[in-house]
Symmetry: C2
Subunit: 189 residues, 2 copies
Amino acid sequence: MRRIYLAGPDVFLPDPQAQAAARKALCARYGFAGVFPLDGGVDLAGLVPVAAGLAIARANEELMRGCDLMIANATPFRGPSLDAGTAYEMGFMRALGKPVLAYANVVGSYADRVAALSGRPLAHNVAGHLVDDRGMAVEAFDMADNLMVVGAVAASGGELVLAGVPAGAEHTDLTAFEHCLEQAARLVP
Amino acid sequence: MRRIYLAGPDVFLPDPQAQAAARKALCARYGFAGVFPLDGGVDLAGLVPVAAGLAIARANEELMRGCDLMIANATPFRGPSLDAGTAYEMGFMRALGKPVLAYANVVGSYADRVAALSGRPLAHNVAGHLVDDRGMAVEAFDMADNLMVVGAVAASGGELVLAGVPAGAEHTDLTAFEHCLEQAARLVP
């Protein structure tokens, strides 16, 4: 049975094991085994915080090596972009040559969210580039997030699934996640 | 000559070619060839925005495959974490088995920055975990950013270099970058 690494900040939700169970049940319905980042079974006893963090990082990389593909929750997290750990893992999986699928429970472009963050429309600089309030260019490729992230999904033969969800359900609504499973079933039958 | 992929949101600065030149000059002083993400020479003529973004993503992945190691600017970008594209590229390079070094022109922990974002100290939930104002857990590993990012540098034999810099110089000050070059010279002589 093909194994799907379930990347995302879902591990930070109040009951991550419930999140894992819900996602794994959906994976099973499509004939896949879901692998949650907490499945590494790392023993953190006696480790100082930094050592514990590094042990989790190593375990997650091993879990990814043992999976066949990825579905990532790329919903914006504490800013206009996805969670940094999730972005890292998408790059990792892509370099391993394994399909990377993803969803984001948000509508609107990355540029829209950067504008919202500064509280006013984005300006153009003298070169004609869209810039944020610090004068740094904002990607204007009609994409939902950074082009590397969108590019990984496209190069995998998939499409980043976007869905509007009720406020508060950004990291728990699994409608878009299930659309990724449909893509997975087509791409990795 | 060993080639270093220079990952980071420096490409978004007002004069990215000047940034590239400054970084490449420092690389040369340590016996390395610096490769900037804009060096791919992608022809975007006639491409609609999404196609242009995807072409850049492919070109950046090819540039990384052609490099021997990475130095990433992991300075927080539009939020408490590093730029999403940079995080993606760190994961990509790490999975290729190539050393990933990084710096952040910031002091203070990730948890401190999440607290600053909400404007008040972080709370603990009933399970004793540090949580943000949405109730999502905040990594408490005494790390400067997400554990995958810090873990990649540690697994490469390096150490994330942190430096306090004057406000406004977060993406241009190259003191910490040069410390990464010193690590590179030791690790990939």
